[in-house]
């Protein structure tokens, strides 16, 4: 019978994961303000342009606002505050 070895687990220590609730949903987007957040990836502005156009054609009663962070991949508290101040919902587009 082959000898059995005891070896170390090579993995690091992960952070604890704590559950978070999703933000409340709206009953309808009609007459609400929806922020389209451009994540600044190459060509994402062009994609958000098409999202914006879709809403203008199909759901003109939704108030669309466009916004983007100052830098890619860096938290922008001012942007978040602006969305929270007068936004009812937000869509982030588009991660690679």
């Amino acid at each position: 019978m082959a000898e059995k070895l005891t070896v170390h687990d090579p993995r690091g220590y992960p952070p604890q994961v704590t559950g978070k609730p999703l933000a409340p949903r709206l009953q309808s987007l009609e007459d609400r303000t929806l922020y389209l957040v451009d994540c600044l990836f190459d060509n994402s502005e062009a994609f958000v342009d098409q999202l914006h156009a879709w809403f203008a054609e199909h759901m003109p009663g939704v108030n669309i606002k466009r916004i983007a962070p100052r830098e890619s991949w860096v938290d922008d508290p001012e942007m978040c505050a602006a969305i929270q101040a007068d936004g009812d919902a937000a869509v982030l587009a588009v991660g690679l």
Partner: protein, 423 residues
């Protein structure tokens, strides 16, 4: 919203943030390079992962009622015992491969005895936290101790006397296994007395595969990055579209003894008696050349033009090449760096027609940060300087069998670490 190839990653990140039911919608990859009409077709089409109309998924994601799972989120613990269940060598080797803890080459199994022997290479306590690491900016940090680094050093085949170098590299927090779609690798260069203490190679064959210390230090840094940061699994924690062979092992020593200039680490403010490891994030392009009397300037300009403007080069000169450049008037490393920066020219149109310049640098230009703001105003055919002097690093390595140079992508990001702190 994401593109479909990132579905597994997006769900993994949501789960790791305690929100596994985060509402997500997917369009086809790529978005980069697609026309207005093509992007509109994505919006009008189906969700590329879940099926059904894409915009219906978006609207429903914003308006459908939440259920108990949405409101509770998900809490969980991912900790594991320090030691695995005992088993045979053969079974453990297979387990390590299946769990993606290796580089798919055989490893030295980290038995308790081997890890104890490795820990003799440092005076630091086994349970001291060395640092934190993550594969990319939007994933969670994992933490690791001296012992965990030693475990991975054993696996790579390193010797205890190499451990301070490996600890220093890991303490930098810069991963050798970035998740980037660009297939980054991280290249490590060692300076100072430790190079000779542990018999590293800075001469013939220094870039590999001809030296035990170089090979196993680079391998240990790579595997430790993978295992201590939460993994490097294609589709989830690794998205490099083509991969990178530098990620197997990329560590060498600077040839300080044969360099005509001050050692690299001394140029950056360290003492000659300090031992340091410098970590360069890059590994994208690699070019090669020789220094010729008549055409060296044209060759360098051509090589610089072929670099990606997002990542400056490590210009690695054999000592013969370095001394030739001294003959041409570059009696200091700084003078050469300045010349290289001034001659790194690209038409503005090409400079900006680049995914990473658009994604990461253009926002800085819009904010007014120089030199990018000026580059943004350049006419399309106007030559702009690709690199600032601080983007270019000149090092000396090689055994003088030929006056050669390599130009390889490598960005120094405040990432020179003192090895002596980890002895």
């Amino acid at each position: 919203m994401h593109t479909h190839v990132f579905a597994r990653l997006a769900r993994s990140v949501a789960r790791a943030n305690g929100m596994p039911t985060t509402r997500q919608a997917f369009v086809p990859q790529p978005v980069v390079g697609r026309s207005e009409a093509e992007l509109r077709a994505y919006v009008d089409g189906e969700d590329a992962v879940n099926g059904g109309p894409f915009m219906q998924r978006v609207i429903e994601g914003l308006t459908n009622p939440l259920d108990d799972e949405d409101l509770a989120g998900l809490s969980f613990d991912r900790s594991a015992p320090a030691l695995l269940e005992p088993d045979t060598e053969e079974t453990l080797q297979r387990l390590f491969v299946e769990e993606r803890w290796t580089d798919f080459l055989p490893v030295v199994l980290p038995t308790e005895e081997r890890v104890e022997a490795m820990l003799a290479g440092t005076s630091h306590a086994r349970d001291e936290v060395v640092g934190r690491m993550r594969p990319t900016a939007f994933r969670e940090f994992w933490e690791f101790t001296v012992e965990k680094v030693a475990v991975n050093a054993v696996m790579a085949g390193a010797r205890p006397e190499y451990l301070p170098v490996i600890l220093a590299a890991m303490a930098s927090g810069m991963t050798a296994r970035s998740s980037s779609t660009t297939s980054f690798a991280t290249i490590a260069m060692v300076n100072g007395p430790i190079r000779n203490e542990i018999a590293m190679n800075s001469g013939t064959g220094a870039f590999g595969p001809y030296n035990h210390a170089n090979a196993t230090i680079g391998r240990a840094y790579s595997m430790a990055s993978q295992n201590l940061q939460g993994g490097s699994v294609p589709g989830e924690t690794y998205m490099g579209s083509q991969g990178n062979s530098y990620a197997y092992s990329a560590a060498f020593a600077e040839n300080e003894e044969r360099s005509p200039w001050t050692p690299f680490h001394v140029q950056h403010g360290f003492e000659p008696t300090d031992s340091t490891v410098s970590l360069f994030l890059g590994g994208w392009y690699t070019q090669f050349g020789t220094i010729r009397d008549d055409t060296w300037q044209e060759r360098f300009r051509g090589a610089l033009r072929a670099c990606d403007p997002f990542i400056g080069p490590i210009v690695a000169l054999d000592p013969i090449a370095a001394n030739k450049l001294v003959d041409f008037g570059f009696d200091t490393r700084e003078k050469l760096v300045d010349w290289l920066a001034e001659n790194s020219l690209l038409p503005a149109r090409e400079y900006w027609d680049n995914q990473w310049m658009q994604t990461l640098v253009r926002p800085w230009a819009v904010l007014g940060q120089e030199p990018y703001a000026t580059h943004l105003k350049a006419e399309p055919d106007e030559a702009v300087q690709m690199f600032r002097p601080q983007d270019i690093n000149v090092v000396v390595v090689g055994g003088e069998t030929g006056g050669t140079y390599k130009m390889l992508a490598g960005s120094l990001r405040d990432s020179i670490v003192r090895i002596d702190d980890w002895r």
